[in-house]
Amino acid sequence: MADLAITTHQLRKVYGDTPAVASLDLAVPQGEIFGFLGPNGAGKSTCVKMLLGLVFPTGGNGTLLGAPLGDRHVKARIGFLPELFRFHEWFTAREFLNFHGKLYGMSARQRKERISAVLALVNLEHTAGQQLRTFSKGMLQRIGIAQALLHDPELIFLDEPTSALDPIGRRLVRDIIRKLKAEQKTVFLNSHLLSEVEAVCDRVAIIQRGEVVRDGTLDELLAARRLLDIHVESMSAAVLERVKSQWTVATSEGNQFTLALDDPADVPRVVELLVTGGADVHHVALRHESLEDLFVRTVDDTGS
């Protein structure tokens, strides 16, 4: 088993009487892209803030790169893009990065070299001399990513890195994350943009009310269930009842519905039942569950 970049053990944060994070156990292997998913208010940002020393846990503990939370030497090997970031707006982009480079403890030469590199990485070379107050939200988010990657960290936390980005910006971030993976960095990605998570992550954890309700590698999670999309016309209620009695209807909308199959070998039997029942079958397609399906199902199951 690879070394773990992040572990948490019953990590907990209570604000007043309401737990923001109930009890969190995580294990993120080094070199993986980890998707941390959950509905709004599930406690994702609170969890990251506890790991980074911005918020003090009510209970539990954790480690980053093998050291207990708050270790100053480990902090030098970590990059972080905050969610609700506001940077000092009177800085120019280059001054801003220079300031953060100093905080990371980088030498003047390292800073000079790396600032140019990260500005190019996030496509902001041409605005290096511009004050941050003139930046759009998307540009701020990109300069924030540049700030997180400036010192070439081993472990990178990105809290909703694409929330303000246009499709091109999102693709840019996706490429950056893939590049980080190729360099064997660990990325902890907070997001509720599931298609993006699906495109880059090796492993995901879905949390709700501050507890992990599902986790595993993306492959194993999505392979667990097959979905059969069906489009039929003129199906009698009796046939529908018989289908329902044998298989689970995941979703249905008018003449289209989706069955959840435990065994893909059931497909011919489904079709036979429909056809012999007199329904006109227009379309049948077997597919893996998407992350969105899994997410909605998980959150529905455990919600309410």
């Binding site: 980074l52 911005l54 100053r72 030098a76 905050p82 009177w90 403890g105």
Partner: protein, 281 residues
């Protein structure tokens, strides 16, 4: 260990320049000094020594001394305003705007951020106080020929006043919103000011209770005590009986108050470090 402190102090100063706080301070000081210089010039030009007064030079010095002491009083208040207004948001605004989210996870400690802020802001207020006071002394010398060798200490004591109020305000700013922090420290400052007046009156009327009130208010915040020490170093008391005026300095704070002011600064920073060190951001 000092690295991060210096970095934070540096950007605090840079922020002061960029956000025009420094420019505002310079303009404020310039306007005040221009007014003082002009006033001193005309007073000295048109001054008539009362008949029967033995030594006209002593009378001129006495008048100049009273003007200088009044001006130092205003300089103290301006220093207080500058210190409080620049520091009221030191931590509070950064917390409200989440700018600390990108800073605290870096390899530095929270106390270094707070101490760095105190250094940067304290340097600004102290510079304001010292430069303004030295300019007042120069103007007095130029236009009235009045000068006292101990008055450089007034500049330092006023600088210390700036640092004291900066650190107290930064400390308040770790706990309160910028507005509340500013108002709280202004109220403490006002309390010390009134306490100081009560003490002066108490000395004049020889009422012990009033003097005690003054001492207690100086313990609550030694700002007025520092100002009175600064005024004493101007060396104008000897004329008090001649020219009269509100700054006759009946009682001088003991050296103990200076020690208390220094300790107060350290305590304010420690308390700020403690509160900020435990706060969720």
């Amino acid at each position: 260990m000092t690295g991060p402190i210096l970095i934070i102090a540096h950007i605090t100063l840079q922020e002061g320049v960029r956000k025009k706080a420094v420019l505002g301070g310079v303009l404020l000081a310039a306007a005040f000094l221009a007014l003082y210089g002009l006033g001193m010039y005309f007073v000295m030009r048109d001054l008539r020594v009362p008949e029967g007064f033995v030594d006209p030079d002593v009378f001129r010095d006495a008048v100049a001394g009273q003007l200088l002491a009044s001006a130092l009083n205003v300089a103290g208040m301006l220093t207080a305003l500058v210190a409080i207004f620049t520091s009221a948001g030191a931590i509070a605004t950064e917390v409200e705007q989440n700018t600390l989210h990108a800073i605290i996870p870096k390899p530095l400690m929270r106390w270094q951020v707070l101490v760095g802020k105190c250094c940067g802001l304290g340097a600004m207020s102290a510079a304001f106080a010292i430069v303004t006071t030295l300019a007042l002394l120069s103007l007095t010398w130029i236009f009235a020929g009045f000068f006292s060798w101990s008055s450089w200490q007034s500049a330092l004591l006023l600088g210390l006043l700036g640092i004291l109020l900066t650190c107290v305000t930064v400390c308040a700013s770790t706990l309160l919103s910028s507005l509340t922090a500013g108002v709280t420290v202004i109220m403490l400052y006002g309390l010390a000011l009134v306490g100081g007046m009560v003490e002066q009156l108490g000395v004049l009327l020889q009422i012990q209770v009033m003097q005690n009130i003054g001492v207690i208010s100086s313990l609550v915040l030694p700002s007025d005590a520092l100002w009175r020490m600064a005024a004493q170093r101007l060396d104008v008391q000897k004329f008090a009986g001649l020219a009269g005026g509100p700054f006759e300095g009946f009682s001088q704070p003991s050296i103990f108050m200076l020690a208390w002011a220094l300790m107060y600064i350290i305590l304010a920073v420690l308390l700020g470090v403690r509160v900020f060190g435990r706060r969720d951001l």
